[in-house]
Structure formats: structure tokens, C-alpha cells
């Protein structure tokens, strides 16, 4: 038997070849049906589509602003215990200018001192403490998605489970607190993160991948 990497190459090539390409015509053709056809006097659906889009845009914008929690409070420069050994960990925050411009990556990692005895919890504590004033001046933000913090952090076999406290809403945004929690925990050798809402539910508690509560879906 050949190496796993070579097996993957052969297998992936065959699997991908079995999926038909999607064309632009196929995709945009669906939308053409919704466009006005003045020659035939069909209804001007674009008026309704545009109106619905405006309403949706306003709703999403309000929701996103709420989710981003752009408050002006200062955050502590260093997160960690008053005593005991500490270590450096990175914490991820939203890079607001990059997100607004659609320029990835949307997160920036910043250093924090965290308790060496429980660095994972320390990093999450530092995350929910938010960026410092200097970092906020650089455009870094905590996207809390309504959460006030977390509880019940359990880590075993490369898998972390935690429950959010407070409210939980994506506000219609594709960027939520999950996009900050997951990379913040990855540095500790954690492969899978299961995030539960305050009621203790998550979409895929037993699946092999990450899981978020439905309230964090856009």
C-alpha cells in the first residue's frame, strides 16, 4: 500500500472528477427569471426584490451593530491571575477595517499573559475582556454576539466544549463570537470546538467537526 498522502491524491482526483462543474449561466439563469421582461409586460419583480433587499440590509446592519457591541469601555491591558505562574497566549479579535473591506484574515491575534495552570480558560477570559484601548484604536473588536462570557469549559482528547452565557445572536452576520473562540482555542492543540448556547444546545453535539448553536448562524 502506498503512503496515505499518495492515496489521498489518487482518491481525491477521482472523487472531484465525478462532480459536474457549475456554470455561471446555470446560476445566474435562475435570477434572470426574476428580472423584468418589459417586452412581454411581465411583473416587475425587481421592484419587490429591491425593496426586500433594502429591508433585509437595514435589519442585518442593525443586527450586526448589536452583535459587534461597539462599546467604548476600556479593557484591561493584561488578563491573568494576580499570583501564580503565567504564560503567553494569543487571543483573536475582529479586525474591523479588514472585515469592512472584505479583506481576509478578519481576525488579528494579540498576546496576553494567562495562568499557566489553565491557559485555555485564561485565553477565553482575555477574549471576553475585549481588546485594549490601544488595540481598539487599531480597529480590533470583540464580537460577542450577545454573549457575556462562557462557562462549563471542558477539554478532552483535543476537543473543547463550552457554554456561552447571556444572550446569543449572530445579528445576521457571518462573523460571530465563534470565529474568535475557535482560533483562540486552536493554539492549545484543540482540533474541535463545540459551542453551546446558554440553554445548553448546539447544532452537532456528537459530530466530528466544530459545532455552534443555531443562534450563531447568520
Amino acid at each position: 500500500m502506498v503512503e496515505v498522502e499518495e492515496q489521498l491524491r489518487r482518491y481525491a482526483s477521482a472523487v472531484v472528477a465525478g462532480v459536474d462543474p457549475v456554470t455561471a449561466e446555470e446560476v445566474s439563469g435562475r435570477q434572470h427569471l426574476e428580472r423584468p421582461d418589459r417586452a412581454t409586460g411581465r411583473p416587475r419583480w425587481h421592484v419587490f426584490v429591491a425593496a426586500a433587499a433594502v429591508v433585509a440590509l437595514v435589519a442585518v446592519s442593525i443586527g450586526a451593530l448589536v452583535a459587534l457591541r461597539l462599546d467604548g469601555d476600556d479593557s484591561p491591558e493584561v488578563a491573568g491571575p494576580s499570583g501564580g505562574p503565567t504564560q503567553t497566549a494569543v487571543v483573536h479579535f475582529l479586525d474591523q477595517p479588514a472585515f469592512a473591506a472584505g479583506r481576509e484574515p478578519y481576525t488579528v491575534a494579540v498576546d496576553r499573559r494567562v495562568p499557566a495552570a489553565s491557559p485555555e480558560a485564561g485565553a477565553l477570559d482575555a477574549l471576553f475582556a475585549g481588546p485594549t484601548a490601544t488595540e481598539r484604536d487599531r480597529g480590533l473588536r470583540l464580537v460577542a454576539s450577545g454573549a457575556t462570557g462562557y462557562t462549563d469549559l471542558r477539554i478532552a482528547d483535543g476537543e473543547a466544549r463550552l457554554r456561552l452565557t447571556g444572550e446569543c445572536s449572530s445579528g445576521g452576520s457571518t462573523f460571530t463570537v465563534a470565529q474568535l473562540i475557535i482560533p483562540t482555542l486552536e493554539q492549545f492543540g484543540i482540533d474541535t470546538v463545540k459551542i453551546y448556547d446558554a440553554a445548553g444546545t448546539t447544532e452537532q453535539p456528537d459530530g466530528p467537526g466544530d459545532s455552534v448553536p443555531i443562534c450563531l448562524e447568520p
Partner: protein
């Protein structure tokens, strides 16, 4: 999309070029994400979203990465685990029949990373750009993904 006839035609041309460029890459990434059965639907859904929001998406620095996340978000909502077809052992005698099931059991990011880097010969920066993560994170996913894949397939590793 809405606008005058000329505006729509220009947008269609741009979108057609865009799809021609990104579709093969997105297709591979979505096969790695959710398996070939669901990949095409996810791809059509993501590109459809791209067309609907083309005015905004065309200005993004990484529109393919954005549409990948759109597809991922909608796929995840369906809560269907990835399914990979059996190995055709008659034409691939050197491929372990346990590979598809092991691939499906990998955590999502590890699966996508190993599928794209080792399966489709993407570079680490290409995968990093698609997933919106750093190159070092991609390396971590690869290392852990391959180790776990070997373990799941019970492959003896020399050395």
C-alpha cells in the same frame, strides 16, 4: 442583481469570468468539506448567493473565501455528515478501502486541509486564503489530520 440592461450585461460578464476562475477551486474545497454528493448543491447555492450579491462581492479581496464560508454555513445547517464514496478497488488497488470513512471522520478543518493539500495539491497559502486562517494553522491541521487519518486507517508508519 438589478439595474439597467447594460448594467446587468456587464455584471453578467464579470460574474461569468469570476465563476470560470473560482468554480474549479471552490468545487474541490466543497468536495473536501461535505463530500461529492452534497458539494454540487452547496456550490450552486454559494454561487447563486454570489450572483445575488455580486455588487458587494465583486469588491472583496477574497470573494472565493467568502463564498466558501457561505456554502459552509448553509451546509452545516443541514446537519448531514460528509459522505465519501467507496474506493473503486479494481482501478485503485493501492488505495486503502478504509480511506473514505476515515476521511469523513476527521474534524472539518483537518479534512479540508488534507484533502486540498494532499488530495488536490494546493499550496499551504492557498488553503489559508480559502479558510481565512494563517499558514501555520493550516500546517497544524495538516499534521494532525494526517496523523489522525493514519490512526483511523490503522496504517503502520515506518520510522
Amino acid at each position: 442583481m438589478a439595474g439597467t440592461g447594460t448594467q446587468v450585461e456587464i455584471a453578467q460578464q464579470e460574474f461569468t469570468e469570476f465563476v470560470r476562475e473560482v468554480e474549479p477551486r471552490l468545487r474541490r474545497a466543497l468536495v473536501g468539506l461535505c463530500g461529492p454528493e452534497d458539494a454540487r448543491d452547496a456550490l450552486a447555492e454559494a454561487l447563486g448567493y454570489g450572483w445575488q450579491h455580486w455588487a458587494r462581492i465583486r469588491t472583496m479581496a477574497n470573494p472565493a473565501g467568502y463564498l466558501y464560508r457561505v456554502a459552509r454555513s448553509r451546509t452545516r445547517r443541514r446537519k448531514v455528515p460528509p459522505v465519501f464514496p467507496p474506493v473503486p478497488v479494481d482501478v485503485m488497488p493501492d488505495v486503502e478501502p478504509a480511506l473514505p470513512a476515515a476521511l469523513a471522520r476527521l474534524p472539518e478543518r483537518q479534512r479540508v486541509a488534507v484533502f486540498l493539500v494532499h488530495g488536490c495539491e494546493w499550496t499551504h497559502p492557498e488553503v489559508a486564503a480559502l479558510l481565512g486562517v494563517s499558514v501555520s494553522t493550516v500546517r497544524n491541521h495538516l499534521t494532525r489530520g494526517i496523523a489522525r487519518l493514519r490512526s483511523l486507517m490503522e496504517v503502520e508508519v515506518d520510522g
